[in-house]
């Protein structure tokens, strides 16, 4: 048996575990232990593969040049798969407590575990077809999570989610087919596989960018994201931090740097037009977040804006910008997941969801709001946090291209971020609550521990980023010269 088959293990194992979970009828405690251990074991598998095997690949099924399921482990896969696995572990602990309010945990955990497998499939995909396959599967497995509460609103949002996702994937498929017809090859190779300059490349690139961009909440295809806030908080945090949106970004990164290559994209000139959409995303997300009363919707629009930062870094096509984009992918994931967890903790403990209701909860939930404030300051990009570092690289990358307007836009967006995030902390800590007695009741332990752990990761990434920075810089050198 080919030793490379071990790549399949972390992808298939969750599927099997999910089948077992849906077949058997666990009680609450057993189910929690089962789910938690499955995800932790998966994490161990991923770490094992990364550590002992380095870069391996596997042709799972190869029918012809096009229909080829190909898995590969390279630096970008290691990055994304580790990020996903670690954050999944924390989310599972969090959801064990949170889902007590939401009921139907069995169905939730089944699809939760399955989505982990699918995301790892995306991470380990070695060519566009495999990526596309798991991408579509991702939509399917996250759909039951989105409509979990089965209310009318949830069903409507779920329908919208499906339509957007499938429409986007179809456009991406069109791009893939055009591409295959020219190059006869869809494998990911650092630096790209294209040579020469053909007009059709422009169409292929733009359609793939937009197609995958739907999942990455590119304006104007972003409306599904705020609507998906009806989902329970672990789902929202997962959707907005790790699985869905970052998969879209991951796919775009693969297309831009591992299929086309930076020079080819520059030659097609597509990046000039697409950057307009990205700039609108950045500004619109930050701006409209100011108008939202509901805390989760505010964070959703914030996500749209932050994903714009990452897409900007990808489209600038130089090493600094790429480093900034990948750093921000990591930083935004940890920050956003903390922010969502804190908001979810507030909803779980007190039932409050609006800006106007949260006066003074800093006194009753101090640890939660402290972690929220630390993450909020990181997102604004104030040193010495990790958000500052990714912003620095993005701005330097933009200046290298000679575009002075882009750092200015990033800073305007940072100001808007401060304007919509800081009032939450200020209302929580420095405003007197409205005639309610202060019962010091912080979030339950199972929710608090992931929040604290991820906040600590955020702080460490800000103070000692060199470990991750060097890794990403290696990735950048591989991909560009």
């Amino acid at each position: 048996m080919n030793l490379n088959n071990i790549i399949l293990l972390p992808i298939v194992f969750p599927f099997l575990a999910a089948i077992i979970m849906s077949a058997c009828n666990f009680n609450e405690k057993r189910r929690n232990i089962f789910a938690g251990s499955v995800i932790l074991i998966n994490l161990i598998f991923v770490i094992y593969i990364v550590k002992s095997f380095g870069e391996i690949s596997l042709h799972f099924i190869k029918i012809n040049e096009f229909l080829d399921i190909y898995f590969k482990v390279d630096k970008l896969s290691i990055f994304f798969s580790l990020l996903a696995s670690v954050l999944w572990s924390f989310t599972s602990i969090y959801s064990m407590e949170y889902m007590k309010h939401e009921k139907k945990e069995k169905r939730f955990f089944t699809y939760f575990i399955t989505t982990l497998g699918v995301t790892l499939g995306i991470a380990f995909a070695g060519n566009l077809l495999t990526l596309y396959l798991f991408y579509e599967l991702l939509t399917l497995t996250t759909f039951p999570l989105v409509i979990h509460s089965e209310s009318k609103e949830a069903l409507k949002s779920g329908k919208k989610y499906l339509i957007y996702s499938f429409a986007g994937a179809t456009v991406a498929l069109m791009g893939m087919l055009i591409l295959f017809s020219i190059t006869n090859d869809l494998t990911f190779v650092p630096g790209g596989i294209l040579k020469g300059n053909k007009q059709l490349y422009f169409v292929a690139y733009v359609s793939m960018f937009i197609g995958f961009g739907v999942k990455a909440a590119l304006v104007p295809f972003h409306s599904w994201l705020p609507e998906a806030m009806v989902a329970p908080t672990p789902v929202s945090s997962l959707l907005h931090a790790v699985a869905v949106v970052k998969s879209g970004i991951y796919a775009i990164t693969r297309v831009t740097y591992y299929i086309f290559g930076a020079d080819a994209v520059r030659t097609t000139g597509a990046n000039k037009y697409l950057i307009i959409l990205v700039i609108i995303s950045i500004l619109m997300g930050s701006f409209l977040a100011l108008h939202q009363e509901n805390l989760k919707k505010r964070l959703a629009y914030s996500t749209i804006s932050q994903l714009g930062y990452i897409l900007l870094g990808i489209l600038l096509l130089n090493k600094n910008a790429f480093t900034g984009a990948m750093m921000h992918l990591l930083n935004h994931a940890v920050i956003k997941i903390t922010l969502f967890f804190c908001v979810g903790a507030i909803m779980y403990t007190t039932g409050k969801t609006k800006m106007s209701e949260i006066n003074g909860i800093g006194k009753s939930m101090p640890i939660t709001m402290w972690c929220f404030t630390v993450s909020a300051i990181s997102l604004i990009g104030i040193p010495p946090t990790n958000g500052f570092i990714s912003k620095w690289f993005l701005a330097e990358g933009a200046l290298l291209e000679g575009k002075v307007a882009f750092p200015a836009i990033l800073l305007v967006s940072a100001l808007l971020t401060a304007l919509y995030l800081l009032p939450i902390s200020i209302a929580a800590f420095f405003t007197k609550e409205n005639n309610e007695a202060i019962i010091k009741k912080d979030a339950p332990l199972k929710m608090l521990i992931p929040i604290i752990c991820i906040t600590i990761i955020t702080i460490l990434l800000g103070l000692f980023p060199n470990f991750v920075l060097d890794f990403i810089r290696d990735m950048a050198s591989e991909v560009m010269n």
Binding site: V219, P220, F221, H222, S223, I280, L283, M284, F287, L288, H291, I377, I380, I382, P383, P384, I389, W392, A395, E396, L399, L400, V404, P407, A408, L411, A414, L415, A418, L419, L422, I426, F429, F430, T431, K432, G462, L463, F464, P465, N466, L469
Partner: protein
Amino acid sequence: MNNLNPHKVLLYIIIIPLIGSGISYFVGKKGERLRDIFNIIMTGANLLLITSLYTSIINEKVEVFIPNIMGIGLYLKLDMFRYIFVWLTALIWFLITIYSTQYLLSYKNRNRYYLFFMITYWSTLGIFLSNNFINLFTFFEIMSLSSYPLIIHDEDKYSHEAGRTYLIMAVSGGLVLLMGLFLLYDYTQTLDIDKIKIVIQDIGNIKYVIAWLITFGFGVKAGIFPLHIWLPKAHPAAPAPASAILSGILLKTGIFGILITVEIMGLNDIYISVVLLVLGFITMFMGGFLAMYQRNIKRILAYSSMSQMGYIIVGIGLMGVLHEHNAIALYGIIYHIINHMIFKVLLFMSAGVIYMKLHELSINGIGGFGRNKRVLKICFFIGSCAIMGVPGFNGFISKNLLHHALTEALHLYGGFWLNIGELIFVISSAFTTAYLLKLFIAVFVEESDHDIANIKMKVTGRALVPMSILAVMIIFIGVYPEFIMNIIDKAAETFNIHDTLDMNFYSFENIKSSFVSILLGTLIYVFFIRKVLRKGSGENWWYENTALNWFSLENNLYIPLFTVMFKISSFILKFCDEGLLNLIVFINNGMNSLFKMPLKYKKKSKDMISKKIDEISHINDFTTEFTTDMTHEAKKARYKMNSITYSIYIFGVVLVICLAVLLYS
């Protein structure tokens, strides 16, 4: 003590306040007295450590580099120039901590106050010690954020409004500063303050843009016009010790940043200096002018700080203008910074003592209180004389140095504008005297109908000791200026100025010019303030503030401007948000109405009516009218196409086409 490695001591200085803030928070949860004692010991210990470094700094500077923090490492440097700032910061923080333990007894949330107080201390020290622009920026931002909870400590409506203005200005200023740093790094590829000096000259005109962006960022903190709008709001809102820190130290961090930028980075240039001169004069004038109208003690002192910062900015501008003769401007700047730190803190502490007893800050409410409070009167008198520049007090020395620098520039260049500048200088000094007289006489001399002169109040030791230390320092520095001048000699080396200054401060010339402005100020007080602003007579008097209805920079310019921009952007971006959806819904509705449009057509049909009755069967021509629509028609067409007839028909057509293709290819 001398055996301690100065590098290690430098590290301790930075670490102690940070750890101390956390420890004091936890100790405070157990017992308040314990925490107060801990805080006093901690700040005192830090002060002692810093003092011990004096002997090493005299000889050479101390540098420490810690790699890997924040990616580029922490680069700290201490030379005599920075030492002045660091030592004074430590001293004032020590004295204010002692004062706060008395002052805050009537406040809530003391633990939180001390936590953020010490974090501000730590970050301020970091600013003065940083030798790398990113470290400086980091500490600068931390300081802005950690001073916010001090300002809104009372948590009432006014504090929140002041805090909001403060925070927005601080964050915006920080972001503009960051833009400058982005550009700077892009062009010079380094952010070490020493290295930038070498490469800065080669980068061309972009250096003006960078200098302006960075000066904007620091200028928000220093209170330069037109970025000063947070100053008069934040000072009255904060508790008195926090106001003292704000005016005394935090404003100086902005000045420090501008000094570093303009001088050490080699951006000393005629264009930059002239604009700084103009802004400095405007700030100086407006601060003094507006201070005369105010009735709130702290707000008078806040505008006074703004005015004094204006003096320092004028000094910085003069440094650039004077080229080789700029030693005198530099000495003036540093001396005035030292003086302002001392006397402003003394005045705020005195105002705080009044507030502790009366809980009132308006001079209309506290008139006549200080008539028989001897200790307080003396402290206030010393502080006021210091700002006014009365000979014998420290302000006299620094004001004269700056005035001399200005006259030097007049000698070198002459010209209309510099003469106007000289005029503004003298008038602003007069304003200083005027508003201080207003304050002093209203509170300490006049009789009023509030029966409060009889309220007894003893200035307790914890407030008295810091104030007296500062008062003694004022007189000492005023009477014996050589002490400070020697220190500044060493500090000036950082600016490549090596000639020492030999000045006779108590010459007849200087004393005369000082008395001219004091006299002018007294005249302004008598004829303007007493005549115009003071209403009522005898013991029943009050002051009015006619400036309240004037054009307010914040309310009449900034807020409407940003509101308009906000509304326009919201409109455009909301359109983008819903744009795709509205488009699709619009197309959908359009298509729906299009397809559901009724189609009328007439159809001729032959109908056979056959009735069971044999004789009657006739063929009729009917024209019937149908109403139908496209959807129906489409359905009908689809139905028809699926029928067998049509299938065979189509099959036949396809066969014929194949035949034709085969025949002709």
